[in-house]
Symmetry: C2
Subunit: 205 residues, 2 copies
Amino acid sequence: MRLPRGIYGITDTSYTVKSHVDAARAFLEGGVRIIQYRRKEGSIRILLEEARAIRRLCNEYGAVFIVDDRIDIAILSDADGVHVGLDDAPVDEIRRRFSGLVIGASASTVDEAIQGENAGANYIGAGSVFPSPTRPDYRVTGLVGLRNIVQSVSIPVYAIGGITLESIPAIKATGAWGAAVISGILAAKDPVKMARAFVEAWENA
Amino acid sequence: MRLPRGIYGITDTSYTVKSHVDAARAFLEGGVRIIQYRRKEGSIRILLEEARAIRRLCNEYGAVFIVDDRIDIAILSDADGVHVGLDDAPVDEIRRRFSGLVIGASASTVDEAIQGENAGANYIGAGSVFPSPTRPDYRVTGLVGLRNIVQSVSIPVYAIGGITLESIPAIKATGAWGAAVISGILAAKDPVKMARAFVEAWENA
Ligand code: NI
């Protein structure tokens, strides 16, 4: 599975868009080609229905589909992969049992990134690069910390956390594979237009 | 995987026993040989740690280990199987992707039981047989309903819901493979002793 460079969209319903499926659609229409379904609560049946709807949308757009945390939902929705944080299931345990899944691992330090790569992760989600409105409690890496992480592993690194349209050139300049965006796109009045602006900002940076 | 006849213990922390691992240990020390870990909330990491602890205990006692709902936790803890309700992931979808898992399916009617068997379930959890203190909202089958379910499928049927020591002979007389017990054992002053009493009541019925 080739992981697309550029903007990585993560679903959220705290902003303009009111459903995870609509969030995914906005990202995709705007040109984003890797989507993460991140929903923390709800019954398995509801998570599964949404994940499947987003899987179908990603197929239409030729996009990669990742599920946050829930390996069961990832497998049952035929997702391409799963993203796990440091408090979730250990990467090596997932790799051992689900060899076909793309595994993304969160890291906020070089040590965590190397640990994720050694455990079998296919990419790193590195951050928060900037103080994030979505995750105010997260450790901030800054651009220097991000660059250190990028240089410490050989797998793709998506930057995450507080990334705005204006910061895209600086993110790309660190050598990051891409930038994960939530509120930067989903809090916009027109999320499709904003997604397109992010995609173009990355391409033109 | 041979499913053991008799008492099926489901973990709960609402009663005497204050942790899921201790609940499993009480069942096992009392002679129960199939345990379901049923915990609805908590991070994946915590669920996984508990599930693994119960898996190890079940190995020591030669017992079957089932996880409620969470296929991810079941797989990552090397559980023997997963139990799913009507609102959880569809049995046929689980069967198709996890051919090695024992799948238990809940049913409160003959139609649901047949549907579960046809979808690939390995056993049925049938009930509530009696009004249940654990699940007051569940449809009650009564002993006649339970017998109808038992006679409608060829897979093992564990009765569940409000089962007491006194009702074990009537449950066994329906042809049920076993009886799932939660509060009947875990609300007892001495759960190990009560588990043993249930196991013996089944054997002697
Ligand atoms: Ni997570």
